[in-house]
């Protein structure tokens, strides 16, 4: 009886052990069958791998970028035509540690992997360190990974080749300037076109002297680093010298403290040069505020209270140009303006008596000084403009006849 029961238990044990295995086996075999189909399908859907992955240093930078190139997958735009994008992976180790650095759409076979030079930044890209790249072609189902690229490292360049045309243009222009200055030094007569705005400066200062009123000189909203403000300093020096000779006070309310300091030194030096250092009053060249419309309110107040005979607006101006010029016009002042802000030139033309347009602001100092050396630089500007005009005509012709090489000569890369 006992043996019978042991035998029955053994049979049941075998049954319960074997049965699941049987079903599992069936299941596994069916999964295997399914798997074989799936793998085949998957393999069939995998795009061809990108090839010839290469990395090289990005040109014209500080050494924090590499340019990765590859040959497109055979299934990108051809073959199975199922590539949707490429992922670019980078590692500093040949075998492991590859992380995604970026993605580009199908049809693109280049990627600029760039970072920053700050070591504490997450996006730090070290110079002179070898990196390896892989490119993954992504299809809707599945992806294929390329072989690893040869190592490449980034390094900084000592010359920006994309700016060669600027260097050449500057060099040509500098040669012109030096040539004409030497010509002027030899005493050759150089004709420069008269400017109405400059010719009116003496009359405007004379008017203020006769009326016993001050002259108001506005340097604009630019900083001391703006070239328009620097040009304005040179004009201020000339005008301050004349006002010192005429014993006419000059008021210079400033928008920027550094501009104020430079203006004070400029006027002081001009008074010294005119032999009237005792007439210089530092309190006439003062700081008002750095806020645009608060500055406008202050200057308008000066115009209304002091009623200056002459207003000069020379420098960098923005939306406040018309408010200042119209208030001056209402106050009955003679007004001479000049700016290199193209959007403000029409306002000055409409509201002031004389306007120096663009480059005339830079030329004004030379006109006022009447020195041959400075006039020489004006002639160089004229020649520079002639060269630009010739280049424009040739460029237009080249574009019309599809002579791209000529246009490429003038290309500037960032």
């Amino acid at each position: 009886m006992k043996n019978k029961r042991v035998f029955r238990n053994k049979v049941l044990l075998i049954f319960f052990l074997v049965l699941p295995c049987f079903f599992c086996g069936l299941d596994m075999s069916s999964a295997q069958e399914a798997g074989e189909i799936s793998v085949e399908d998957s393999l069939a859907q995998l795009p061809a791998t990108p090839t010839e992955v290469m990395a090289k240093d990005a040109s014209n930078d500080g050494g924090h970028a590499l340019v990765v190139t590859w040959k497109l997958s055979a299934d990108d735009g051809a073959g199975k035509n199922n590539v949707v994008s490429y992922e670019i992976l980078r590692s500093d180790n040949l075998d492991s540690g590859f992380v995604v650095r970026g993605m580009v759409l199908k049809g693109v076979n280049t990627f600029k992997d760039e970072g920053v030079k700050e070591k504490e930044s997450e996006d730090y890209f070290p110079s002179h360190k070898n990196f390896y790249y892989k490119v993954k072609a992504n299809a809707e189902k599945g992806a294929s990974l390329s072989f690893v690229s040869p190592p490449a490292y980034a390094f900084g360049q000592l010359f920006h080749t994309g700016r060669t045309v600027i260097l050449v243009a500057c060099a040509i222009f500098s040669v012109f300037t030096i040539l004409f200055i030497r010509k002027a030094k030899r005493g050759e007569e150089l004709y420069v076109r008269p400017l109405a705005g400059i010719a009116a400066v003496d009359d405007a200062i004379g008017r203020a002297t006769e009326m016993g009123k001050p002259i108001l000189y506005i340097l604009g909203l630019g900083t001391a680093a703006d070239i328009a403000t620097i040009a304005s300093f040179t004009i201020l020096a000339r005008i301050a010298k004349i006002t010192a000779e005429y014993r006419t006070p000059i008021l210079v309310p400033c928008n920027d403290p550094i501009v104020m300091i430079v203006a004070q030194e400029t006027v002081k030096a001009a008074y010294l040069d005119a032999g009237r250092p005792d007439m210089y009053k530092e309190e006439n060249i003062y700081y008002v505020t750095s806020m645009q419309f608060a500055y406008v309110a202050a200057v308008n107040g000066i115009m209304v209270r002091e009623r200056p005979a002459t207003n000069f607006y020379l420098g960098k101006f923005y939306a406040e140009s018309l408010i200042l010029a119209e208030t001056g016009s209402v106050a009955g002042s003679i007004q001479i303006s000049g700016t290199d802000e193209i959007a403000q030139i029409p306002f000055f033309v409409a509201a002031t008596d004389y306007t120096l347009i663009g480059e005339e602001l830079y030329a004004a100092s030379a006109y006022l000084g009447k020195e041959p050396l400075l006039l020489g630089s004006l002639k160089a500007q004229d020649w520079g403009k002639a060269l630009v005009m010739i280049s424009l005509i040739l460029g237009g012709l080249a574009a019309s006849f599809h002579l791209d090489f000529f246009i490429r000569l003038f290309a500037v890369k960032p």
Binding site: F159, C170, Y286, A319, E326, A350, Q381
Partner: protein, 205 residues
């Protein structure tokens, strides 16, 4: 020699700035940024001088009872309130400092800016008076440009085309001509200053 030192500094700084423009290497960028940091430092000290200048000029007006000296009192009061109020109450929203900024300064600034609309009208009136042939052309051109934004029925289309042509051809040509002139003027001015030819700003002819 005293007069030569600033010219030497200007020459070295100017030449360095020109050279660094063509050097993308980190070393060039470092010195450029270092120079910019100096400008910030100088700016901070200059601001102190600016505040001192403002204080002295306004105080002088108050002491001498110059015309409009009451405005100087307001200016000095505003200066000290903001100078003291910032550190005292902080500059977070809701503090007296920010309330003065939002509810006094900002509306006054907006009022000043809105004056521009009236000044544009008065300047346009003077500029567009058809006294000469050129002024008449200017008036007609301005009319075309202004009317392009207004629905004018059947003439809207042709007016729009004419306005676009004016903006894209003659206006653009003039703009570019001025820009080229400005570019050359900037280079010439820089050369004159860097080479020490233009020294008027230092009181030398």
């Amino acid at each position: 020699m005293r007069g030569q030192i600033p010219i030497i500094i200007v020459f070295i700084s100017g030449v360095f700035m020109v050279i660094q423009f063509f050097i993308p290497h980190d070393a060039g960028v470092f010195f450029y940024e270092y120079g910019l940091d100096w400008i910030i430092v100088i700016g901070v000290f200059a601001m102190l001088l600016g505040i001192w200048s403002l204080f002295r000029v306004q105080l002088d007006k108050v002491v001498k009872k110059s015309p409009g000296w009451g405005y100087s009192v307001v200016a000095l009061g505003g200066l000290f309130f903001m100078l003291i109020g910032g550190p005292l109450w902080g500059i977070e929203e809701g503090t007296p400092f920010m309330q003065v900024f939002w509810y006094i300064y900002t509306p006054i600034q907006a009022t000043m800016f809105s004056l521009l609309a009236f000044y544009i009208a008065s300047a346009a009136y003077r500029a567009f008076r058809a006294r000469t042939v050129l002024a008449t052309i200017l008036l007609l051109t301005a009319l075309v440009i202004m009317l392009r934004l207004i629905p004018l029925g059947p003439i809207s289309g042709p007016n729009q085309k004419l306005a676009t042509w004016i903006l894209m051809v003659p206006s653009m040509a003039a703009n570019r001509a001025i820009l080229i002139g400005i570019g050359l003027g900037i280079v010439a001015t820089c050369l004159k200053i860097v080479l020490g030819i233009e020294r008027a700003y230092m009181g030398h002819d």
